[in-house]
Amino acid sequence: MSAHPNGYIKPELMACCGAREIKNHHVVIVGTGFPAMSANIAKHTHAPDAILMQESGVVDARPKRPALSVGDPCLNPGAAMVGNLLDIMGMFLQAGWVDVGFLSGSQVDKFGNINTTAIGDYEHPKTRLPGSGGANPIGSLAKKTLIIALHDKRRLAERVDFITTPGYIDGNGARERWGLPANTGPECIITNKAILRFDKTTGEACLESYHPGHSIDEIRENTPWDLKILENVHETEPPTERELEVIRKILDPHRMISIYEKRGYV
């Protein structure tokens, strides 16, 4: 299964990287899979008072099985609030109450722009993707957006084919010029090889840490732009014993997370 010390698999490491971005009392908008796992690791470790919400209308759910969608039946009973889409996207997200959002996409570029609309030309796409859904407003309005991506030259891009969700757009203050709220935007890209953190001035994703077993050179080779290396670049801290215990004993005893290995997260 895994050659990593501590016996972890890459999706577990990535989920822990996400968890560490969440502070106690943060309000976090989550989807399914990784984001939910990350947020729940945080809740069970250093951020017990973090509040999770799903865009469908749910706050602080107590699901008894892993939710397979943000509208999953298991999110209803036990939640602190079950309202509607506008309660979450309008009253909480647009009004500036959401600290952390998670996003992923078929393409992510160096400014953290995300494409979930179409690969190729919009009018005659090679692949028609689902569209924005909640991604654009989360990327526009959450204080910190964490982007999950596979680290290869197909998923990462110098420029996405279609900007569905704004990162730093074309960098250097573009968000502010467009009128997006201050102190919002992508925080980092968590890939299967590294954490790329955004330079808030230039808007570019730069290498902050490489996961155990990966090298800076390998990462540069697999990044389709001239990747800047942060001064304090270092190896990503592997999952702690406690984090792994939370994942395996509490959150995911059936190891559903291993499905991400099949999707290339190795």
């Binding site: 469908s56 209308g57 509208g71 209803n76 692949t127 569905t164 009128g179 997006l180």
Partner: protein, 311 residues
């Protein structure tokens, strides 16, 4: 004055070719019985809308009934991309639909604006992205970017939407149309109230007095409603809180079938065209998969605490 009728009657009387339809649901409570009936009756050239569309919208597109889609997202969730949606856009099968793209913030805000009689509404998303560069059938009225007259800051305005008909599925309604819902709401309340007419599909028709015991659960009042249909299991393969779970296995079967045009048509034949109504659908389900799997979808018994409105 009772508005109770069959789904067949409701769709036949109140949904017309070329109509603009809001169809409620968010995994939760898709009005699938009504959607199948729309397909059976072959209503044409529809414009359809909802935030986060799923298998129901995919099916309407695959059946060739949709001309325009005001949307944010269309996917089969855990099963991946919507096959009919992709074929329509990528290959023009059965024809290429026109898509006006918004987000899960802007679209429900537009429906809210419609429900509140506002001409437009400011939203804080979409700016700086290609969602502003693509405009379809709404043209220059997709949005307007203005300088706020209050502080001069760039402000995006999106127009109100007022569908001709809204179709929603809820837990209960009375015969007059007062419709009650609990659990995940999606954009159901704003979408229904934005429409000129509402068709209410429900798990059970209850007495007016039952509505009056807990009137804060009502999301649409009778005077907006033109038809009330009792359709138990009416949201399957989606779910209704307190009634039945999502049918994940069936969702997977739809995805598998819709992978090919032939598979999709065979699916429609089996589950829609050869089926007269939701009772027959449920019977077919039980015959095909067994009563056990059907019964397993039934919700557990776990009731809330009652409250009082008395004085």
């Amino acid at each position: 004055m009772t508005k109770v009728m069959t789904t067949k009657e409701a769709i036949s009387q109140f949904v017309n070719d070329n109509d603009f339809l809001f169809i409620g649901g968010y995994v939760c409570r898709p009005p699938f019985a009504a959607i199948h009936e729309i397909i059976r009756q072959g209503k044409k050239n529809l414009t359809i809308t909802r935030s986060n569309a799923a298998d129901d919208f995919d099916m309407l597109i695959g059946a060739g009934l949709v001309r325009r889609f005001i949307g944010t997202f269309l996917s089969l969730g855990v099963y991946g991309l919507g096959r009919c949606f992709r074929r329509s856009i990528e290959k023009g099968i059965p024809h290429k639909i026109e898509v006006e793209e918004y987000t899960n913030l802007s679209l429900p805000m537009m429906l809210m604006a419609g429900s509140f009689g506002m001409p437009f509404v400011p939203v804080r998303d979409m700016v700086g992205t290609d969602l502003m560069n693509i405009k379809s059938f709404m043209g220059e009225n997709k949005f307007k970017l203005i300088d706020s007259p209050f502080d001069g800051k760039p402000t995006l305005l999106v127009p109100a939407l007022n569908p001709d008909v809204a179709i929603i599925h809820v837990q209960q309604a009375d015969k007059f149309g007062n419709a009650q819902m609990w659990g995940i709401g999606g954009d159901c309340k704003v979408g229904a109230n934005a429409a000129k007419k509402v068709i209410v599909s429900c798990e059970r028709i209850v007495d007016r007095d039952v509505i009056g015991k807990d009137p804060s659960r009502t999301i649409v009042p009778s005077f907006k409603v033109v038809a009330v249909v009792e359709e138990p299991f009416g949201a399957h393969p989606g779910y209704t809180p307190g009634f039945y779970d999502t049918d994940f296995g069936f969702g997977y079967q739809y995805q598998q079938a819709s992978n090919t045009v032939e598979g999709f048509h065979a699916f429609l034949k089996e589950w829609v065209y050869d089926i007269p109504d939701r009772k027959a659908y449920t019977q077919h389900y039980i015959q095909k998969f067994g009563y056990g799997p059907f019964k397993k979808l039934e919700a557990a018994f776990d009731y809330s605490f009652p409250v009082s409105y008395a004085y």
